[in-house]
């Protein structure tokens, strides 16, 4: 890859005979905001720790700026990590925390002082030089942890669920803050999270992982709109995942009713999975719908109503801004463009590998 900053080649890692990563291949472009997204135990944190140098892969290579750094210790790598629970040095002031890396690399006093000022300004915490870490709130500590990492001008910043311990409002603020920081600094970010909303908000590229395998790599839009398998569809946002039969190109039979769609190349009369996002399910008058059903459940969620429609033995999750009373007979319609067809995995192993790529 021409402009790849990092290249992970055939990485495998197991702990106590438990395979955590199996033959993982991934490249990260310069100046990219890449997010490793997946449930706990999917191998995302292990991938990050291998990049940071805190784990050595059993097999495979880590190539950083064209150099093999697989066996290089963390202190020799030109990258920095922001740890999950900040990991500030509790016995040092904020200024000393930020200066730590610069002092180790033997920078001059005036350079260090300038850098401390600059970094604190960057994270909006001017004047915090002489405070102790435990006198700061969680959000402030997180900013200091980021400041401590970026003063060293790393090529690559690794962030391990850095917003996990913050409350919702603060987390959203910090997401915008991180996007701003990344744009101002021009550093490549690799971000680990299990929060799909966080991933969608911030990333240029999302890597969805499960059970040590990459399920899908793509932009937030393509991951959300065109999930390649049921796992990705289920993990990212709410969705209706239904077993169906592909009758022929551009025609799929869902729960006994035939829907037009836009996908081709799945063969004729082949079992498939379809994904339909709840906001893409249109509720119409019964005679206008392709399927008929009864509204069985409705919750007001602020922007929209979240409803469930029982139709042909399946509970359809529907989101709509229009209120429909419970018990109403409704018709279901879906725009052909909003039906996402996925090949059915033939076994559980195949499901984990994400064979649909």
């Amino acid at each position: 890859m021409k402009n790849a900053l990092v290249n992970l080649v055939n990485i495998s890692k197991s702990f106590d005979n438990q395979m955590v990563l199996d033959d993982l291949n991934l490249y990260i472009r310069e100046n990219e905001f890449l997010t490793l997204l997946g449930p706990s135990g999917c191998g995302k944190t292990t991938t990050l720790r291998i990049l940071g140098g805190f784990e050595t892969p059993d097999k495979g290579q880590v190539i950083f700026e064209g150099r093999d750094i697989t066996n290089l210790p963390p202190n020799k790598r030109n990258l920095n990590t922001v740890f999950q629970k900040y990991a500030l040095f509790p016995h040092m002031t904020i200024a000393e925390n930020i200066a730590f890396g610069l002092k180790i690399s033997g920078k001059s006093k005036s350079y260090i002082n300038d850098k401390i000022k600059y970094a604190l300004k960057l994270v909006n915490l001017d004047g915090f030089e002489n405070r102790m870490p435990d006198s700061l709130s969680g959000g402030q500590q997180q900013r200091i942890a980021i400041a401590r990492a970026i003063v060293n001008e790393p090529k690559l910043l690794l962030l391990d669920e850095p917003l996990g311990a913050l409350d919702l409002k603060l987390r959203q603020d910090m997401q915008y803050e991180l996007i701003r920081l990344k744009n101002e600094l021009g550093i490549t970010f690799i971000y680990v999270t299990h929060d799909q909303e966080e991933a969608l908000t911030m990333s240029d590229t999302i890597v969805v992982m499960n059970q040590g395998y990459i399920q899908q790599i793509g932009t937030p839009e393509s991951i959300y709109n065109e999930p390649e398998n049921a796992f990705v569809a289920d993990f990212i946002g709410d969705s209706n995942i239904i077993g169906a039969t592909m009758i022929r190109d551009r025609l799929v039979e869902i729960l006994g009713a035939r829907f037009d769609c836009v996908d081709t190349g799945f063969g004729e009369n082949k079992p498939v999975d379809v994904v339909i996002r709840p906001e893409d399910v249109e509720l119409v008058a019964p005679e206008e719908g392709i399927l008929q059903g009864t509204l069985i459940h409705s919750i007001f969620k602020g922007v929209h109503y979240e409803m469930e429609v029982m139709a042909n033995g399946f509970e359809w999750l529907v989101q709509s801004t229009k209120m429909v009373p419970v018990g109403t007979k409704v018709g279901i319609k879906v725009d052909p463009f909003n039906i996402q067809i996925m090949k059915k995995p033939e076994s559980e192993d195949e499901e984990a590998i994400g064979v649909n790529e």
Binding site: G52, G53, F54, P73, P74, N75, N80, T81, F83, Q84, K85, A87, L88, F89, P90, H91, M92, T93, E96, F100, G101, I104, S105, M132, R148, A149, N152
Partner: protein, 270 residues
């Protein structure tokens, strides 16, 4: 019911067995045999015999504390880096001797070290030169280190095990090598445990009379032995109390230093 009532047994205990005896020590220490007020008992520390015993006790307890620290620090670090199963086994090995009586353990060392004791029998059977450290300061230091080492290991282990692994990883991540990480992060963060360990070893070592009596014979008199003799043999409670007050001053001095440095250790970097 008033919950404060629950503390009554403790208050009674403290009053009877701590405050009252302490007052008595001060009373006896500051009076002569006729009951008249005097500083003589305290100033008696200046006599050659007493000051030598105090100096000897200070010297041996400082040496023992330093040896305990040097042995305990690496051990505590090894314990911290172990997984739980190995760890609890090693801790068990370590505290096992503490289940035995203190006197018994010290007497066991006497039997081991004696001129015709176990160690020398083995050495002579192997045609090796015999070890003659019984009734010397070496034997006393050995006894102190053996008996008080766990009191150094446990507080050190407690602080070391609480250091967040990611804090150490962060230091590596920011470019520090092993030595830099130890001296800038691990060591300063372990200071509170170190000082409490030092106090817990130094104070009993300074005041012991049993270890010096059993392993030092009657040749080496520590301040603890002098005080003990005043009470049990000479029967001069006034002098014994006076010397006890002097010893107490040293202990309080040590505690004050450790509290002050502890605070600095937490607030300061390096």
């Amino acid at each position: 019911m008033n919950r404060k009532l629950l503390s009554l047994p403790f208050i009674f205990w403290s009053a009877m067995f701590v405050i009252v005896p302490l007052c008595m020590v001060f009373y006896y220490g500051l009076t002569d045999k006729s009951g008249a007020f005097t500083f003589d008992n305290i100033l008696a520390i200046a006599t050659v015999e007493h000051s030598k015993a105090l100096w000897e006790a200070l010297k041996l307890s400082v040496i023992s504390t330093v040896i305990c620290l040097l042995l305990a620090y690496p051990l505590a670090m090894i314990l911290c880096n172990m997984n739980v199963n190995q760890n609890s086994f090693l801790v068990l090995i370590f505290i096992l001797p503490m289940w035995m009586n203190f006197l018994l353990r010290t007497l066991a060392w006497q039997t081991l070290l004696e001129k015709t004791g176990v160690i020398n029998s083995i050495l002579s059977a192997l045609h090796l030169p015999s070890l003659n450290i019984i009734n010397t300061p070496y034997a006393i230091v050995l006894g102190m280190v053996y008996n008080f080492l766990p009191f150094m290991v446990l507080p050190l282990y407690n602080v070391l095990v609480k250091i967040d692994k990611n804090v150490i990883n962060a230091a590596y991540d920011l470019g520090a090598n092993g030595a830099q990480t130890f001296f800038r992060i691990i060591f300063p963060l372990s200071l509170p445990g170190m000082f409490s360990g030092i106090t817990m070893v130094f104070v009993p070592a300074l005041t012991t009379f049993v270890i010096s009596k059993i392993l030092g014979g009657s040749k080496i008199l520590l301040i603890g032995n002098v005080i003990e003799q005043e009470f049990t043999q000479t029967g001069n409670w006034n002098l014994g109390s006076g010397l006890s007050i002097v010893l107490m001053l040293f202990i309080i001095f040590n505690m004050v230093i450790s509290v002050i440095t502890d605070k600095e250790g937490e607030a300061n970097t390096l």
